[in-house]
Amino acid sequence: MKLVVQRIALGLLLLLAVSVLIFAGTIILPGDVAQSILGQSATPEALANLREELGLNEPAITRYFDWLFAALQGDLGVALTNGRDIAESIGQRMSNTLFLAFWAALISVPLAILLGLIAVRYKDRWPDKAISAITLASISIPEFLIGYLLMYFIAVKLGWFPSVAMIGDHMNLLQKLQAIALPVMVLTLVVLAHMMRMTRAAILNVMQSAYIETAELKGLTGFQVIARHAFPNAIAPIVNVVMLNLAYLVVGVVVIEVVFVYPGMGQYLVDHVSKRDVPVVQACGLIFAAVYIGLNMIADIVSILANPRLRHPK
């Protein structure tokens, strides 16, 4: 358990370091918030007043800690462009993003692992080669292209699902699912290959072990050997890749959200980057970093717990 605690502490430390980087990054940028609110033509007096009002004359260290402690209490400040509370806006956006990521993960993770198991079972035979070829192809095509292709064939030609993934509070679950069907498909295709190939490689590595021979000599079938004896020993590397992909589903789906006009975090971030809304960018950066670090931390903790030597010491 000491290792798990260590890992969590490390994760928190990392998050703190990232928050410093994000804050420093926005300070280094030319111009400041007051400048971006008032624009190039602002008078020096107006700028000075606004700076005073926003507390920009305080030293950077003070501002950083003010920002950090406020963020820790859930107060992410106010968006400069529309004056709305950022935490509130992000809350809605984040739940949309998580909704999309959740369904994409629910389909892609089991599918990737299952395909990986099948590829191992029929190693170097046609099912393995077909799975490898298809998943490789899907990861090689740019995601926006897959998005438009699916949109063209499934939404426009066949008319099965809407091409725009707008969701709102007035919709029930089924309607929402129908709305996000296409982006979920695209995301699944994008993340499938990576996880499937890691599953295949990790299990094949374990298949060399002597205990696999023992299992085969017990008269177990190919799938029993893989599922009962190989898979439990391949969990650590698989979980690591799965978590990387889950993180991608949360923080990396900007392109997909834009293609399908989905009201998620990615679009929110892109909108405000183009408007130089620094507090929003900072808040989004912090949340993305937290998600990324959190998921990787979970992966490490699962790897630690999956090791029987660490779970059951002598």
Partner: protein
Amino acid sequence: MSDNLLKVRDLKIGATVYPPGEKPHDIEIVHGVSFDLERGKVLGLIGESGAGKSTIGLASMAYGRGGVKITGGEVWVNGREILKTSLKDIRNLRGGEVTYVSQSAAASFNPAKKIMDQVVEAAVEQKKFSRKEAEARARELFAKLGLPDPDNIGERYPHQVSGGQLQRCMTALALCPEPDLVVFDEPTTALDVTTQIDVLMAIKEAIRDTGVAALYITHDLAVVAQVSDDIMVLKMGNTVEYGTTDQIINNPQEEYTRALVSVRSIEHEEKKPTPEPVLSVEGITARYKGLNFDVLHNVNVDLHPGQTLAVVGESGSGKSTLARVITGLLPPRDGEITFAGRKLSRDLAGRSREDLRELQMIYQMADVAMNPRQTVGTIIGRPLEFYFNMRGAEKRKRIIELLDEIELGEKFMDRYPAELSGGQKQRVCIARSLAAKPKMIICDEVTSALDPLVADGILKLLLDLQKIEDVAYLFITHDLATVRAISDSIAVMYQGRVVRYGPKSQVLSPPFDDYTDLLLSSVPEMHLGWLEEVVAHRKMESAGN
């Protein structure tokens, strides 16, 4: 003959090989072997590595390891030809009628699952027993095999029990489905001798009590003589001799079998100690970084010029640690090492080039001790350049001299390690250490990974070289037969201490301390009934106390 449990006729087995720089091609590794095994009997398959004994054992389960394929012949189990049956039938046979015990239980148990789950798996899967019945039977077997706490040991994970215990768990795993035949593949080879004797007895009693038949595969004729009814001697995939255990041991017909029976018959006259030892280890105490206990306690030994000191002990006794301290890889916490009349620095960095040159080392694994991308000539030539600054024709002449000394000759100069056999690789390592003209060589289990006859050749070579070069050996080994063959003095180590030390004749003569007695009496002897004698003797002693 029809009621034979296992009938093998003209079995041929092939494999695909991938030699470097050549096209992959098929070769035959077993060339038509035939034998019979009745119910309840034990057949020993014996031979050196490459004899095909494991391959034949696995063929009785219609299994080929890696790229191994059964290419011809017949294997009958319980009256049916298993090479011609369906995959489903073979699955029913494996783990049900025929089960397997491997050499390394530590590698053959799944580290992620509890022992009990793995022991009962085959029995339950083959529908021989319900899960509950199988667990009850497993606990019975654990008790019969002498495992501690048989009711609960199954709840542990493989890493939570010792090597010897795990090997017994593996035997329980094989016996749990009440098979007709068990294939034991070197089940005690990886164990210490004192552990081997217990596991051997447990296996023998389990075979007797359950009436199961067994194929017992090993390279150790003395071991197989204790458990088998018949013995088949194999060499390079051919049957050399096949007969009853009594006949093979006491009246071998073939030259090769006689060589196996008389292996380790090197005679070596003990030399008297000289007044001035070449190496003097005084009061060495050492521990590894991060550990809070000492692994060596106050070790004192001397090695005399041109002589051999054997350091003998089981795994964990500290014998390899002693070598690390002497070479400077592990600075001791206390004590002093005097070598060739001068005090050695505690750590490697403080030693002179002369110290390094005069103190050489040979390792157990010859193949990982050589750079696979260098030729034999380069490997042996390197110390000549490094210590003596030899170049060109002079160096070449000396390399050829050394190659002649190790009985390989000039033609080996341009070969790569991958083209050499295990024994040849070890010879090259010996030549490399001799190239430095050392006063002393530390030999760390140098014959342990080799077949008995090859190991014999290496020991003879080392003794011959000692006479020519007047070099001293610190010979680390767990094998008492090797100790007898080459040592002048012996240090017996146990749990980091030297428990017995002196000239060979004295150390190997009674009265013994308890540990040396246990160690000596555990070495399998080449006569029938030895196992029972030892076990009966020990029972009597413990009853007497």
